[in-house]
Amino acid sequence: MEDIFEGIEPMVYQSRINIPYNWWAGDTASKFLLAIRDERKILGTKCDSCNRVFVPPRKTCPTCFTDNQEWVNVSDVGILEAFTVARRQLAALPGKVPICFGLIKLEGADTALLHYLGEVDPGDIKIGMRVQARFAEERQGKITDIAYFRPI
């Protein structure tokens, strides 16, 4: 059969999806982020039914499905439950590798918070180690107002 594409090089069209997003944090997340920004305090929400404390806070308990009415202060100190050290410069990373990520269960919380680990040699990070939040000097009402968690 005749090759109808003889001599034709396959083309690629380079483009992008560039749509600016503005995500409303909502009242629950706003309260959490403002407490970090303005008071360097970490807040959680507590479920009346199962008594679990959620950090980051949730308006509704994902399991019981009832509204979490109560706000509680949790500690800025917690236990490292999981971690990784990014070694390759993956496109989503905001800075230079190595970058350390961890899941930190703060004292007083029942869920773990996803964040950076800092002031630590990547080789020394261990699951179960105690870490403490280091707040950013300039805080803007974002999750990165906590600069990272460092071992204590």
């Binding site: 995500w23 999981a82 990014a86 070694r87 390759r88 989503a92 773990a112 996803l114 974002k142």
Partner: protein, 381 residues
């Protein structure tokens, strides 16, 4: 569940960059292979379900690209966004509802066109997490570490999954990465995110799979012996990684429990002849095996060392080479089902599992195995 069967399967080769092909080209190839396989033509298809993801395809309403090429022009059609196992589930449901006798299911993606780190970063919550810059690899690396910490699974055992699956792929003409590896090759490959080396991770891939599902009446009207669907179930865990015990896959445990119960599987460790699992990373194959009750908690690595999951072992896992040897996201789960069909028909060539009668396929949606779909297929009705 009423009887329903898979009567046709078509797959493209899995490749790193199918630069000549649009999504429609991929769908056309896979659909025609499935129709040929079944001995059907498009008039025999009652309805269509396409499966795709708008982020991976770089297109809102990504299903639009494959509508004509999947034969949807004047038929009832719907579109699932998620892994192909979920697309196939919806295709099956549309038969069980009594509305249609046959469903054509397709699933496609071309990882080569986008940047997977950015696409998977968009799975992270925009308020609490996104700015931190995690993606599928760094997220799963945390899970790998947590799993190894809890179970004592070793880096060598993870590496052995890679060795096995890339080795199996040498016999699969559709696989992207057939490789003859040693454990040291894996351990010495680039560390991407601790504890995952490059060869612990599945590649970026392009591919498409199509499948034809039929009710019992229609299943016997065409060329092939039907492969029967005996059990299907899916389940999602919590979204936030810190809400879960990340080292456990309890939603998979639940999905498998339901699917096995539907299929009358009492002892999954003994009652299954072949499995095709969603091994996007090496640790996942072991973690999923434990979650499904195939291995005791913390024992999958040891079972692997003993050769239990090799093609000639007593429960071969990913004889096709799995995702590690080719991972077109979205299509990957449908390919798992398709590979089990090949095994049960005895058509898997050099990677055929001898005497396979009953097989299990699994697919995953979301981050770190949040949502799983489990299929049990049987050669016999």
């Amino acid at each position: 569940m009423e009887n329903a069967a898979i009567i046709g399967v078509g797959m493209t080769r899995i490749e790193a960059n199918k630069i000549r092909d649009t999504f429609a080209d991929l769908a056309w190839e896979a659909v025609n292979k499935a129709l040929d396989d079944a001995g059907m033509n498009m008039d025999d298809i009652d309805n269509i379900v396409t499966t795709s993801n708008d982020f991976w395809d770089g297109r809102t309403i990504s299903c639009m690209a494959v509508s004509d090429a999947s034969g949807a022009y004047d038929k009832n059609v719907s579109c699932v966004e998620g892994d192909g196992t979920f697309g196939a589930f919806y295709g099956l449901i549309r038969i069980l509802s009594g509305s249609y006798g046959t469903t054509l299911v397709t699933a496609h993606s071309k990882g080569s066109e986008g940047i997977s780190s950015l696409i998977t970063n968009a799975t992270f919550d925009p308020i609490y997490e996104r700015a931190l810059g995690l993606d599928m690899i760094t997220g799963c690396a945390m899970q790998a570490g947590a799993f190894m910490h809890r179970t004592g699974t070793t880096a060598e055992q993870l590496a052995m999954v890679s060795v096995k699956n890339h080795g199996n792929a040498r016999h699969n003409p559709l696989a992207q990465l057939p490789m003859d590896l040693t454990i040291d090759d894996v351990l010495n490959s680039e560390m991407i995110a601790d504890p995952l080396h490059k060869l612990d991770c599945s590649p970026v891939s392009d591919g498409c799979c199509a499948m034809i599902i039929a009710n019992e009446e229609r299943a016997f009207q065409y060329k092939r012996d039907p492969v029967w669907i005996k059990g299907v179930a899916f389940c999602s865990d919590t979204y936030f990684l810190g809400d879960r015990d990340l080292s456990q896959a309890r939603s998979l445990t639940e999905a498998a429990r339901k699917a096995f119960a539907m299929a009358g599987i009492g002892n999954p460790a003994n009652d299954i002849d072949v499995m095709e699992l969603y091994d996007a990373f090496t640790y996942q194959e072991l973690m999923w095996l434990e979650a499904m009750g195939i291995s005791a908690d913390g024992q999958a690595g040891r079972d692997l060392e003993e050769g239990r999951f090799a093609i000639d072992g007593d429960l071969p896992v990913n004889p096709s080479g799995g995702l590690l040897s080719g991972h077109p996201v979205i299509a990957a789960g449908l390919i798992r089902i398709g590979e089990v069909v090949k095994q049960l028909r005895g058509e898997a060539g050099q990677y055929q599992v001898k005497g396979a009668q009953r097989g299990v396929a699994q697919g995953v949606n979301g981050r770190c195995g949040q949502s799983h779909c489990v299929w049990v297929l049987d050669k016999n009705k």
